[in-house]
Subunit: 329 residues, 2 copies
């Protein structure tokens, strides 16, 4: 039976929305500015408008529900977003209640952490499709993570599982914004990686990165690092290899704990592809117990920024499989 769901990816800058069919995949997409600085009422309004625009494309197939991937901590019942970073004025917002009221809808609305939703999107539409269970890492401003276990999001005891970005790889290492010493985010989160690169480049005056930043290394980004590496710049390649090594270390710790041996890496920095992932692949087995090394694999997500809205829509499909009585009329 064909079902349609709307998947919303609520980001700090943009809200992306997709109308997704469980059979035909992504049918239509829309996006809009989040305008997070104008507070929660405005953001709710933007989401509601996006939903209404997407609803115009259902071709009279009834909508089964709405899934939302949001930053911040999500309540165990998947309704409420708590303190999302970069959303001024949000403390605790029950997105489900607010949207049902605003849209006069009684459809299921399910809210999940954005990294978890990316994992679910990868599991059903992306590089995670071949895997029953895998660890998803999203490299971006921070380092997001999710555990997909038997094709479902592993939520832990309180809904916050998968925070791989805050796992330490050196208990006396550099301090991340979370306050955790040696958290992997303090090495390969965007600002930390750029900072590390600037220090490394002090004695590398011939690096292409000086040209690419027109001599102002404060403009250095992971994107420019990737560009330089692709053009054969050795310092840039070394910096990305250093990042990949750190990624391999933390993934080893995660594999030991979970015995999940497939890893999918997505997000902005993963554009650096092999420059980061090859060193990560070389490092990973050294940090995994011998008996758990067979079948280790790190692959790159290729869906790009569509993975979030696809995963968000899939929240609805999975919910309806588990609670079939809740299906749309």
């Amino acid at each position: 039976m064909e079902r349609l769901a709307i998947g919303i990816d609520l980001g700090g800058t943009f809200i992306k929305g997709g109308l997704v069919s469980n059979i035909r995949g992504l049918l239509h997409e829309e996006h809009t500015a989040t305008e997070a600085d104008k507070g929660p009422v405005q953001v709710l309004q933007r989401i509601a408008q996006l939903v209404q625009r997407l609803q115009q494309h259902t071709d009279n197939i009834p909508l089964a529900g709405i899934g939302i991937g949001a930053p911040g901590t999500i309540s165990w019942d998947r309704t409420t977003v708590k303190s999302p970073p970069n959303f001024p004025g949000w403390d605790t917002v029950n997105l489900v209640k607010a949207l049902q009221e605003r849209l006069s809808l009684t459809l299921p609305i399910i809210v999940e952490n954005d990294a978890n939703v990316a994992g679910l999107g990868s599991a059903f539409y992306g590089a995670g499709k071949p895997f029953d269970s895998f660890i998803m890492v999203t490299l971006g401003t921070g380092v997001g993570g999710a555990i997909i276990y038997q094709k479902k999001i592993f939520r832990g005891a309180h809904g916050g599982a998968g925070e791989i970005g805050h796992m330490t790889i050196d208990y006396e290492g550099p301090i991340a914004y979370s306050g955790v010493s040696g958290a992997i985010e303090a090495y390969i989160g965007q600002r930390f990686l750029s900072h590390h690169a600037r220090l490394r480049l002090i004695n590398r005056p011939h690096s292409l990165l000086y040209q690419l930043t027109q001599g102002d290394l404060s403009l250095l980004t992971p994107q420019l690092l990737t560009q330089a590496a692709q053009q054969g710049d050795e310092p840039a390649q070394e910096i990305l290899a250093w990042a990949g090594h750190k990624l391999g270390c933390v993934l080893g710790a995660a594999v030991n704990l979970l015995d999940i041996r497939k890893i999918v890496v997505g997000g902005g920095i993963s554009g650096a592809g092999a420059f980061i992932l090859e060193p990560a692949r070389r490092t990973l087995p050294d940090f995994v117990l011998t008996g758990l090394r067979e079948g280790l694999e790190i692959v790159q997500e290729t869906l790009g920024n569509k993975v979030g809205m696809l995963g968000a829509a899939h929240l609805v499909f999975q919910y309806l499989e588990e609670y079939p009585t809740e299906k749309a009329p």
Copy 2:
């Protein structure tokens, strides 16, 4: 309905067995030397004899099954033990088949990793009883671990989850026997902790530990460290606090990944109780993302070495709940 199961804790030195009622708890226990050096046939014989001795105490209540906690890697179908450390001559042994033949039994026999079985024992009979989900750490020769999730063993994708002892806390740290740099086992595994203590004591000639080892620090054990700490010896207390700090670091990494905030610590070294656990409790939140800190708790297992056989017996009870058609006639 009352059910009886036999729980076997297969250790390198002793095999412990208990006859357990799902209603009345532990009814009877027996133990025997493992004689692992005589090879698998002899060990199987010892297990079979232990089962037969325990069967004499069933008071004509039919036996529902046998659970076994074993070292090494356990197959996904819970029948086979692969390469248990300190069991010469074992490569891969199908314990279920071997015991069913030897005992002429068709009862369910379930084999699980010994650390996982300790976790299950704690969940139903020990310090883990109040918790739906918790992380179990067993401090001994090595550092064992298990994840109890919603009152069940979380097995990962291949059955080997919970290897917390091999998680790194310093990617350039000391190398454990697993080859992993900075694995927590390389700090607080018995031999590593004793080694660290000996180095620390070089400049502490007045430590009680010199008396307790009669001047030969090569005889130092975690037990002697605990004894000295209890008698107020500051160097011994410092060494255990150092170990507790490291334990707190690795537990923080595990909490971030799993969002399971209750931790039960068992095993030999945990006799050191507060000397290790207080520093671990102080350190833990510093290595956990702010949003996941509420409700963090580290408690000590108090069942001692009974936790393994109780957990092994409980494998049977849990199996029969999941597959009720398999119940004993």
